[in-house]
């Protein structure tokens, strides 16, 4: 047993998983409140990644930033959150709100359109080539935490910690604040919430803002640890985020976190071991197969996910 590899894969999995969890959170929040699959969510992440990349360039690039490194990272994340948040609000306002009373499939098709529009707009403006964050210039790869034979790059720690911090903040917001209470009430029963004096439209807008801001931040985090971004990256993260949300239990915040970590770890380990296990017949590209199998198994065995409650249809 190669323990170094195991621990390294564990770290990779947690990094990936925290990003998936952030995506799953936004997806899950929107689903909880609107019962709507926001297929454009992954593309909000992609736009966030490009916003972060733009801010990095504006601050002098990764090689010699004009301000302190921690400030660069903070500003990138904040800008991506604001950009992603407003993008999410715009998507809600123009693509989903006119369709609140339409058949269920209408907003989904609209979401497909938004997703396609965003991808091709970025393709139009920035081209199909990968853009790189070059964050190894920002913080040297050698800088990190040593623990026995294990070396964890400090950027990974930054990413994991900031993802956890955002999740914690969201948890506090939803459970402790007035807005959180309104969100939970709206998710539980929109009409009853409206009758209790909650401005449902505003709650929905804020939910979209928060969820999309998390996705935007996740885009920057992806760029910081995996370097490469392009117009199509949102597809993969959206898909894995959806899977994580379904596995964890859609509509549940702890579910999204656990589901994200679960999918991230599963992906990291399958990348690491799938070749050995299949005696080289399947390459690491087939790791997506594992996530897909997890999704299918969950749908067959426990469709409400780990933390979800079985849906009871009321007439």
């Amino acid at each position: 047993m190669d323990w170094d590899k195991l621990v390294q894969l564990l770290v990779n999995g947690v990094t990936l998983g925290s990003v998936y969890a952030l995506v799953a959170l936004g997806f899950s929040m929107v689903y909880g409140i609107l019962k709507l699959l926001n297929l454009a969510h992954g593309d909000v992440l992609m736009v966030g990644a490009f916003v972060g990349w733009g801010v990095l360039g504006w601050l002098g690039g990764a090689q010699d930033p004009t301000v302190a490194v921690w400030l660069v990272i903070l500003l990138m994340i904040l800008a991506a959150m604001v950009g992603g948040g407003f993008l999410g609000v715009a998507i809600e306002r123009f693509a989903y709100r006119p369709l609140r009373r339409a058949p269920r499939i209408a907003p989904l098709i609209s979401a497909l359109g938004v997703s396609f529009f965003l991808q091709n707009s970025v393709l139009l403006l920035f081209g199909a080539n990968f853009r790189s964050y070059d964050s190894f210039d920002l913080v040297d790869v050698g800088v990190g935490v040593e623990w026995g034979p294990l070396h964890v790059w400090v950027m990974r720690i930054v990413v994991i910690v900031s993802a956890l911090a955002m999740m914690g903040g969201l948890w506090l917001l939803v459970t402790r604040s007035k807005l959180g209470k309104a969100m939970r009430a709206t998710a539980f029963d929109r009409e009853a919430a409206a009758m209790m004096g909650i401005d449902v439209d505003r709650v929905i807008v804020k939910t979209f803002f928060i969820g999309s801001a998390l996705a935007g931040a996740a885009g920057v985090l992806v760029g910081l640890v995996f370097f490469q971004i392009n117009h199509f990256m949102g597809f993969n993260y959206g898909l894995k985020g959806f899977t994580a949300a379904v596995v964890g239990g859609i509509g549940s915040i702890p579910g999204a976190m656990v589901g994200g970590l679960f999918i991230g770890l599963a992906e990291a380990f399958s990348v690491g071991y799938i070749e050995d296990l299949t005696r080289g017949r399947l390459g690491s590209a087939f790791s997506d197969l594992v996530a897909f199998l997890i999704l299918v198994i969950f749908m067959l065995v426990r469709p409400q996910g780990i933390f979800g409650k079985p849906e009871v249809k009321k007439v």
Binding site: R101, P103, L108, I109, L112, F116, L124, V246, G283, F292
Partner: protein, 479 residues
């Protein structure tokens, strides 16, 4: 555009809904529809299929015939997708994977690589059944929560399908399978383009007839009932899950047939032929024509494929762009004089801005248009064209062009928020001008991408403004 809020009382709505059918029957369109409805099915089929049958007689060009074959394949795809999306209201996002599966299965049954050459009359039915069965299996895990979950499972299936195609050794990865044998039908090989056109046309006629009968059958009625109200359908003892899986499998089977016809005609299959771009294009066809209507979906496929072809060349694209704007304004704006006024105002506004820019900052108008058509000479002295706005690689060179693009999107969205018709027309003038500037400086250099941007925007706009598409029936909600 005011939207009814759920919390507001909807006075008069029930009355309107109750009398909707009656009003429809009195209108000209309604009576026409009724007359068409009463016509014998065979006559309808002949009238519908005739333009497709005669198409090859009007052209000698191989290119145009090829476009015709592609269009028919797209029509088949749109018809297949319509079963799940239009009739039952399921979001099938793995649809093009079934198309790809059909194509690769044909390659497995008839190619040098496989070392076999099955005749089409055996290969195509086998492929149709195999692909339909795959569709059934893919839909199965989400049977308890069909609906939104089906979308995720199918989208993920498409992703897995692409991963397998690109990485597996038996599909030869991204290089694809190139040496596919031509169609052999009852011992005769089909080699000419016209031959392929008519084989595809025959499949089209068969599938349209099949779908027409299916739509009117017990199953078809059950599907429609299911789309309108799943819960009510279930209470009427309809086997909801089985019906959904059935629709899903039928759609997949049709996609498989389309794939089996596509592969021998192309002579090669590549993973890149079956990606998300194709998926969204087929969705746009179904939605534009009118989901649920066989004629509508066919018209949508023809329209979209024709305009995608036309948008390939930058010069043609420019013409089309300006023509489409003028036409859209004339058709959509009331009263009649308003579009004329808006267009005139836009022309004057543009000249004024151009003149102003020349005085204040000549660099803003120093460039020339990307295209070389006649329309560009006119446009050159009207829109702002900074020099070198389009870089070497066709991408916008400066931040200004990117900002203008984002600004245009924001302005167009903002435009929909203006309630007053007059003010909206006034605000339209600078937005139109900005649109022309962005077109000349950003979009025109990359027509291949610009057309997909337009498709995405069209899907969103259609859903908000006219969800029934061009020929679909407006949905009347019965409370």
């Amino acid at each position: 555009m005011t939207e009814p809020r759920p919390e507001q009382p909807r006075i008069g709505v029930d009355e309107w809904v109750a009398s909707a059918e009656e009003r429809r029957q009195r209108s000209f369109a309604g009576r026409l529809e009724e007359a068409i409805d009463r016509a014998p099915a065979a006559a309808k089929l002949v009238v519908f299929a005739l333009p497709f049958a005669l198409f090859p007689f009007f052209t000698d060009s191989e290119y145009v015939t090829q476009v015709g074959i592609d269009t028919l394949i797209y029509v088949l795809l749109a018809l297949g997708l319509n079963v799940a999306v239009g009739w039952v209201g399921l979001l099938d996002l793995g649809f093009v994977a079934f198309f790809g599966l059909g194509a690769y299965l044909y390659a497995a049954l008839a190619s040098e690589y496989a070392g076999r050459h099955w005749e089409a009359q055996f290969a195509v039915p086998v492929i149709a059944v195999a692909v339909a069965a795959t569709g059934f299996l893919v839909g199965l895990p989400s049977r308890r929560l069909v609906g939104d979950y089906l979308a995720i499972v199918t989208l993920f299936f498409l992703q897995i399908w692409l991963v397998v195609l690109v990485n597996a050794s038996f599909t030869r990865g991204p290089n694809g399978i190139a040496d596919i044998y031509p169609l052999k039908l009852f011992g005769r090989e089909i080699v000419s383009l016209e031959g392929y056109y008519y084989v595809t046309f025959a499949a089209f006629v068969l599938i349209v007839s099949f779908l027409y009968l299916l739509d009117r059958s017990r199953t078809g009625r059950a599907w429609r009932a299911l789309r309108e109200d799943e819960l009510a359908a279930e209470l009427m003892t309809m086997p909801v899950n089985r019906l959904k899986l059935m629709a899903f499998a039928v759609g997949a089977g049709i996609a498989g047939i389309a794939g089996a016809l596509y592969a021998p005609q192309q002579g090669a299959v590549f993973p890149a032929n079956f990606d998300i771009v194709l998926l969204i294009t087929v969705y746009a066809m179904v939605v534009l024509g009118g989901a649920g209507s066989i004629v509508g979906v066919t018209v949508g496929a023809v329209l979209i494929n024709a305009s995608l072809e036309a948008l390939r060349d930058p010069d043609d694209a420019s013409w089309l762009f300006y023509l489409a704007i003028v036409l859209a304004l004339i058709l959509l704006m009331r009263p009649r004089w308003l579009p004329v006024a808006v267009l005139a105002a836009t022309a004057v506004f543009g000249l004024a801005v151009h003149e102003l820019a020349e005085q204040v900052r000549p660099s803003l108008v120093a460039g020339t248009t990307f295209g070389t058509a006649r329309v560009d000479e006119l446009v050159d002295s009207w829109v702002l064209l900074p020099e070198g706005a389009i870089g070497q690689d066709g991408l916008p060179a400066g931040a200004l062009a990117r900002l203008a693009y984002v600004g245009l999107v924001a302005a167009m969205l903002g435009l929909t928020l203006i309630r007053s018709r007059l003010w909206r027309a006034v605000a339209l003038v600078p937005v139109l001008y900005l649109g022309a500037c962005v077109w000349e400086n950003v979009l025109v250099a990359q027509p291949a991408v610009a057309r997909f941007v337009l498709i995405g925007a069209m899907l969103v706009a259609l859903m908000a403004v006219r969800p029934q598409g061009l020929l679909g029936k407006q949905r009347v909600e019965i409370v």
